[in-house]
């Protein structure tokens, strides 16, 4: 990853965090669907990113969002888990012939079908961890599942929408 890529990722990350804490923080569909669009920063890092840097980036990003949400470390717990299972899930759903080096697992690069099988389980697991930690011992598991289900669908939908609307170019994000 060269310095230009790094800067563009940084800028993209700042934009996503701003959007999250200023806009999506106040958004709740029917009281159960929350939107965590910022996690697509982790999901869209190049496929050959090392697991260690992935974990550190995830944890840092979660912590920044936590500060704005006043949630201590709930987002960090979720994003760290996301960073951990991302390589595993990428390996599990790798297309025949494997990935190209330095590919980003985005909608444009990989196509809609593959992208859906990638993003839906990932967002669901993030939401599951998030709501489990958030509601530890207060509400039942059914409530957690319910919220996770709708939140992950909303997040995935928004992720697809954002990419379809704003990223026409085939490569590069800014």
């Amino acid at each position: 990853m060269n310095i230009r890529n790094l800067l563009s990722y940084l800028a993209w990350g700042i934009i996503l965090v701003f959007l999250q804490v200023l806009l999506f923080k106040n958004l709740a569909l029917f009281g159960v669907g929350l939107c965590f669009l910022y996690i697509i920063l982790i999901l869209h890092l190049p496929i050959n990113t090392s697991p260690i840097s992935l974990l550190i980036i995830s944890f840092g990003l979660g912590l920044v969002v936590d500060i704005f949400y006043d949630t201590g470390g709930i987002h960090a717990a979720g994003t760290t888990f996301l960073g951990f299972i991302r390589p595993l899930w990428l390996r599990a759903i790798s297309p025949t012939g494997g990935y190209d080096e330095d590919t980003e697992p985005t909608l444009q690069e990989m196509g809609t079908g593959w992208y859906l099988t990638y993003i839906l389980p990932m967002t669901f697991f993030f939401c599951l961890i998030f709501f489990t930690v958030d509601q530890w011992g207060t509400l039942g598991f059914l409530n957690i599942l319910n919220k996770s289900f709708f939140s992950s669908i909303l997040t995935a939908l928004l992720a697809i929408l954002v990419q379809a609307l704003f990223f026409k170019r085939r490569r590069g994000i800014l």
């Binding site: 200023l22 974990l55 500060i67 470390g73 960090a76 717990a77 951990f84």
Partner: protein, 278 residues
């Protein structure tokens, strides 16, 4: 030895993952305990000012409604003053401690908050420079909002009433029965009233106000009205649902209330070995 190190090196991602998760969970637990506060929270200068800018922009569109609320509140306060004016000579001379005022009120604005989690917090645009202290009560003209948790120089973070960890001492106004208001994490419009014994007559529509027992809030600040009374699964207490009077989705101007005798009360409780979590 080398083999062990090699083995650990191969597991480095897993180990780092477990380590980071433990840190995150530890921070959550620390943040949720009544005494502890997060190391990083939205009362930090940068976060606070960003949230304040947003609140300024959004607040601009609600100015008309806000003004109307303030005007109607002014009217009701004026009416109270005219009612109390004849007693001014009694309450003003300070001879009788019955009339001594031990609460200080100041106004503030909510600049950021969460609504949909189970541990909701709000950020307020005043901090220790403006005299805000930890443990002060937060309310607005509609009812109780929460309690201040952490204070920085110019901002502070409060625990919202919509936080499963906050208990507010309260009473049913008509029957003077004491209980505790606690949010169950489900519906941001309703909370539960705990510890009301079964023999008490509680009816839907009864008003619930603060009891003045926990020394954060004075007696009689509105919390909500009872919307449902059901026999609980637990044999001893009623299961009471209270419709909260404060509209948390529209919080803007709030009042911070400080009990100036809190330190005296605290030391008294300590002497009597009563633990009081505010």
């Amino acid at each position: 030895m080398l083999r062990i190190l090699e083995f650990l090196y191969r597991l480095r991602a897993l180990l780092l993952f477990v380590f980071l998760e433990i840190i995150a969970i530890w921070m959550v637990v620390r943040n949720n305990s009544p005494q502890g506060a997060a190391f990083f929270n939205s009362s930090m200068a940068l976060t606070g000012s960003l949230l304040k800018t947003q609140a300024d922009i959004v607040g601009f569109f609600n100015l008309a409604e806000e003004n109307q609320d303030l005007a109607s509140q002014n009217a009701s306060l004026l009416q109270q003053i005219t009612l109390l004016a004849p007693y001014d000579s009694i309450s003003g001379d300070g001879l009788d401690s019955t009339f001594r005022n031990s609460y200080m009120v100041q106004s503030a604005r909510v600049v950021g908050q969460t609504l949909r989690l189970s541990q909701n917090h709000l950020t307020i645009n005043k901090g220790s420079n403006q005299g805000v202290k930890e443990g002060m009560g937060i309310f607005n003209q509609e009812g109780v909002v929460g309690r201040v948790k952490t204070v920085s120089n110019n901002y502070s973070v409060g625990i919202s009433l919509l936080n499963t960890g906050l208990l507010v001492s309260s009473k049913i106004k008509s029957s003077d029965v004491f209980g505790s208001i606690n949010w169950d994490g489900e519906n941001p419009l309703e909370a539960k009233m705990l510890y009301i014994p079964r023999h008490v007559l509680a009816n839907p529509g009864d008003t619930v106000v603060t009891s003045g027992f926990n020394a954060i809030f004075p007696e009689g600040i509105l919390i909500g009205t009872i919307s449902e009374v059901a026999p609980a699964t637990d044999q001893n207490y009623l299961n009471i649902t209270v419709k909260l009077s404060a509209d948390f989705s529209k919080l803007n101007h709030v009042y911070l209330i400080e009990n100036t005798e809190l330190s005296e009360l605290d030391s008294l409780y300590q002497k009597a070995e009563i633990s009081d979590e505010y």
